[in-house]
C-alpha cells in the first residue's frame, strides 16, 4: 500500500547531470544522470562498490565530484565551504554505522543540530528533539547513551537527529546494513512513515522489499553506471536489461 506517490509535475529537488567521480585510476561514477522530485522516494540498488553510496556522499559534498554537475533546488552545489554548510543544513543524512556521538545522550544527539547549527534556543531545541524522539518511538530512551541502545534504536535516534534540522531531503546510506535482522524492521517502519509523510528521500539499500513497496523510483547501479531506472514495478517485475535481471537473480529475487 503506497500512499504518497509524487505527481509527475512535482518540482525537481535534485538533478544529477553526467556526474563523474574518480579515486585515482578507479572510476567510481561514470556519467550518472538522474533526478529526484519533491516528495519522491528514490531507492538506489546494485552490487556493493557500484557507486550508489558514492553518489549519495557527493550529494551533500562529503565527496567532491570530478565531472558533470549536481543541482540542488536548481542551483549547482557550491564549492565554497560556508555555502556548502548552508546546503548541508537542508539535507539530512543517515549513515550505515549510525555515527551517533557516543559522548552525548540520545536527546543531546538530536538537540545538537538545532542548537549548534541553527542557533535555536535550548528550550526550542529540546522541544523539537523530544517530539522527534517520540516520533521514532524512543521518547523513553532520551537519556540513554548510544552504547546503551540497540542498533535499531541507535539508527532511529540518528534519523531523529537528521530530522531535527528540518531537511528538505533525507539521504539514507545503507541504513539497515549494519543491523541485526530482528531490528531492521523497526528502522524500515520509521522510514516508511517518513515517506508517507511526504519526505523526499534517497535511499541506498539492499532491502529489495522496501525498495519495491516504498520507492517511487528505483535506480540500478553497476560499476559506476546506472544500468536501468524506473518505477519499482518495472525494475522488479519486468527489468529491461539483462544486467538488472542478473543482479536481481543473484539476490534470489524472483518477483
Amino acid at each position: 500500500m503506497t500512499i504518497a506517490t509524487a505527481p509527475q509535475t512535482a518540482a525537481t529537488v535534485l538533478q544529477y547531470r553526467d556526474v563523474q567521480k574518480l579515486y585515482g585510476d578507479f572510476v567510481a561514477l561514470q556519467g550518472v544522470s538522474m533526478e529526484v522530485k519533491k516528495q519522491q522516494v528514490v531507492c538506489l540498488i546494485g552490487p556493493s562498490g557500484s557507486g550508489k553510496s558514492t553518489l549519495l556522499r557527493c550529494t551533500n559534498a562529503l565527496e567532491t565530484i570530478d565531472g558533470g554537475e549536481i543541482l540542488f533546488d536548481g542551483v549547482r552545489l557550491p564549492k565554497d565551504r560556508t555555502a556548502i554548510r548552508k546546503v548541508r543544513q537542508r539535507m539530512g543524512m543517515v549513515f550505515q554505522n549510525f555515527e551517533l556521538f557516543p559522548h552525548k545522550t540520545a536527546i543531546e544527539n538530536v538537540i545538537m543540530g538545532p542548537s549548534t547549527v541553527l542557533g535555536l534556543s535550548d528550550e526550542a531545541s529540546r522541544d523539537r528533539a523530544e517530539a522527534l524522539l517520540k516520533k521514532v518511538g524512543l521518547a523513553d530512551k532520551a537519556k540513554n547513551y548510544p552504547a546503551n541502545l540497540s542498533g535499531g534504536q541507535q539508527q532511529r535516534v540518528a534519523i531523529a537527529r537528521a530530522l531535527a534540522m528540518e531537511p528538505e531531503v533525507m539521504l539514507f546510506d545503507e541504513p539497515t546494513s549494519a543491523l541485526d535482522p530482528e531490528t531492521i524492521g523497526e528502522v524500515l517502519n520509521v522510514m516508511k512513515a517518513l515517506a508517507d509523510d511526504g519526505m523526499t528521500m534517497i535511499v541506498v539499500t539492499h532491502e529489495m522489499t522496501f525498495a519495491r513497496r516504498v520507492a517511487d523510483h528505483v535506480v540500478v547501479f553497476e560499476r559506476g553506471e546506472i544500468i536501468e531506472q524506473g518505477p519499482p514495478k518495472q525494475i522488479f517485475e519486468a527489468p529491461t536489461t539483462a544486467r538488472t535481471r542478473d543482479f536481481l537473480g543473484h539476490l534470489g529475487w524472483d518477483g
Binding site: R88, F101, V117
Partner: protein, 219 residues
Amino acid sequence: MTLDWSIVPASAGALAHGALITIALTVLTMAVAVPCGIVVALLRESRFKPIAFLATCFVELFRNLPIILVVYWAFYVMPVVLDLSFSPFVTGLVALCLNNTAYNSETFRSGIRSIRKGQTEAALAMGMSEGQAFRKIVLPQAWRRVLPVLATTWVTLFKDTSLVSVIAVGDLAHTAMQIRSQSFRVIEMLTAMAAIYWLLGYPQAKLADWIHKKFGVTE
C-alpha cells in the same frame, strides 16, 4: 657510621618549600603543555604543508633530546642566541614545557586519529563547520581516550622536574642536594628526598591507575 636524622626535621621548612616548587613546576608545565600539545597536534595535521613540516620538526627535536640537555640549553644558550633570559624557575619551566608539549602533541594526535572519520562526517553532514566538528565532536571523544596517557605523562613529569635542579631552581631535588652538601648528611638527605618524592608520587600514580581503569576501556 653514625646517622643523624635530626637534619631532616631541622630542614623540614626548606624541604616543604622545595616540594611546593616541584608541584608548581608540574602543574604549570601541564597547564601549558596540554593546550600547546593540542595546538601542535593540529598544526601537524594542517593542510598547509610548511606549517605541518615545522610542527613535525618541533616535535621530533624536543621529543628526542634528553630533558636535561634542553634544561642546560634553555639556561645557557637561549639567553645568548635568542636574547631571552628568565629566572631559573621560568627557564626550567620553559624547558619542561618544550619537552612535554612535544610528547602531549603526539598523544593528542593519536587520540584524534583514533576517532572514526564517520564522526566528523556526521557532524559536517548536519552543517557544522570543521572547527565545530572538531571542538564539539572529535576533541571531547579524543580527550577521554588520551586521559590515561596524560595521567602517566603527569606522573613521569613529576619526577622529571628534578632535572631542573641542575640550573639551581629551588625545587625539592635541588633543595635536598643543597642541604646535603652543606651538612654532609648524604645518606639522611638522599633517603629523606626519596621518601618525599615517593610519598608525593605514589598517590598520583594511584590516581593515574584509577583514571586508566575508568577511562581506559573504550566502546
